[in-house]
Symmetry: C2
Subunit: 235 residues, 2 copies
C-alpha cells in the first residue's frame, strides 16, 4: 500500500529527551490534521518501547527500514545518552541515508550533534543546547546562538523547549501563517515562564568544560577516537 | 520494597495529548534529579502501550493499583478522547481515591474536567483549555482565564503548553526559586513564538458552542445523562 503523503519522520532512540520530540510532533501533527498532504510518523530501530531520560517509555510507529526516504526528518536530543548515540551506527546510518533525499532536515537540542556525526553539518550554520554549542565545531559547523537557525533545508533548534518554536516556524514555512496561528491557539502557546525569560547572567553550572568532559568520557568510553575529536571542542 | 520518596504521579489514558504530560514531566523529573526526596512515575490502567492523539504511543511505569496514594497527581487533557474519558469509571475512580490523600492535585488542559468528574472541583477556582473553559461549571467550579490557577492544593493549567509554566511554578513552590531557574536553563525555556504571544482578537473557530456540542455528542453518545449535563454549559 503506497502512501502519497509527505512524511515527517520523528526519530527516537534510547535515552533521548521526550520533550524535544513531543513538542514539535504535537505542532506538526496539528498541521497534518489540516494540511492532509502531510503525515507524521515516529521512527525507531524497532517498535519495542524505548527508554528515555525520564520514566516515560515511547513506542515508534515505524522502523528505519519502513521510512527510508521521508520528506522531512526531525532528530531530538538529550544529554549523555545522545552523546552515546553518536556511536550508534544504525542510527547515524539511518540519518545519513534518510537526509540524503529529504527536503528538510531538522533537529532539536543536541539532535544536531547526531546530524553532525552523520556528516550533514559540514560548512553549515547550526545550533544546539547552549551547554553543548561549541561541540558543533567538531563536525565543521558554525555554532550560532539563536532559538533556531535556518540554513536552507537544514533547520536546527536550541535546547529542548525550542523545538516548539522551530515547529511553529516550520508550519509557517510549509503551509503559511494562518495554520501556524491556529495551531498556536490549539496548543495555547502563550508562554508565561514564572521566573520570566532566561537571564543569561544567572546561568547555572559555571565553567562548562569539566561537565562536558565528564559527559563525553562517560558516553564514549568505548569510542576513544570520536571522544577525543569532541574533547578538542569543549570550549 | 518500600520507597520513602514523595511520588509525583502523571496519569496516562487513551487518546490524551502527550505534550500536556511530557512538558511537566520533564520539568519535575529535573526537580527529582536534584531534590532526591521526590520521584516521578507514569501511572496507567495497564503497562501496555497506550495510543494518544498523535502517532506516538506511551508506556506507563506503574498501574493505578501500584500507586494508590501519590504525594502529587498531574492529570493531562486532550480533545474528544478526554471527554470520552469522563465516563471511564476506572480512571475517574483512581483520580478520586488518589487525590483524597494527595498533598497536591494538578491538571493541564482538559485534565481539569476529569478532576471535576471525580468531584474534586466543587466550589474551587480552576482553569482548562480556553475552548472548554465554560464546561468547568458543570462540576461546580469557577472558571478562571489564567495561565495557571492555584487554589490551595489544587493547581490547574490552561491548554497543552501551559503545563510547562505550571510545572516550573510547582518546582518553585516545592523546592524554591534556584532549582526552578536551573531547570528553566536546562530545558532552555526562553520562548520565542514565531508569531509572538497569542492575540485573542485573532482567535480561530468563531462560536465555540457548535464545536463543543459536536465533540460532546461524539464522545458521550453512550452516556446521555453526563452529556446533557455538560451540554448545559457550552456557553
Amino acid at each position: 500500500m503506497t502512501d502519497d503523503r509527505k512524511t515527517i519522520a520523528f526519530v527516537v532512540y534510547p535515552g533521548m529527551t521526550p520533550l524535544d520530540m513531543v513538542g514539535p510532533l504535537t505542532v506538526l501533527e496539528g498541521m497534518a490534521s489540516t494540511a492532509q498532504e502531510y503525515r507524521t510518523v515516529v521512527v525507531g530501530e524497532t517498535k519495542a518501547p524505548i527508554v528515555t531520560d525520564n520514566p516515560l517509555k515511547l513506542v515508534a510507529t515505524h522502523t528505519y527500514d519502513e521510512i527510508p526516504a521521508p520528506y522531512a526528518l526531525l532528530v531530538p536530543g538529550g544529554g549523555t545518552p545522545t552523546l552515546k548515540a553518536l556511536a550508534d551506527e544504525k542510527l547515524i546510518g539511518y540519518l545519513r541515508t534518510a537526509a540524503a533525499n529529504a527536503e528538510l532536515v531538522t533537529s532539536v537540542c543536541t539532535g544536531s550533534l547526531l546530524l553532525g556525526q552523520a556528516g550533514l553539518l559540514e560548512g553549515r550554520r547550526a545550533t544546539t543546547h547552549w551547554m553543548f554549542r561549541e561541540l558543533l565545531r567538531t563536525f565543521g559547523a558554525e555554532p550560532v546562538a539563536e532559538r533556531w537557525v535556518e540554513d536552507g533545508d537544514l533547520i536546527t533548534a536550541a535546547g529542548v523547549s525550542a523545538g516548539i518554536d522551530l515547529a511553529l516556524h516550520l508550519v509557517e514555512r510549509l503551509v503559511g501563517t494562518e495554520i501556524a496561528r491556529t495551531i498556536q491557539f490549539v496548543i495555547e502557546y502563550d508562554p508565561e515562564p514564572p521566573l520570566g525569560a532566561l537571564d543569561w547572567s544567572q546561568r547555572p553550572y559555571g565553567d562548562l568544560k569539566p561537565l562536558l568532559e565528564h559527559s563525553l568520557n562517560e558516553a564514549l568510553v568505548d569510542e576513544p577516537a570520536l571522544r577525543d575529536k569532541l574533547l578538542a571542542h569543549t570550549g
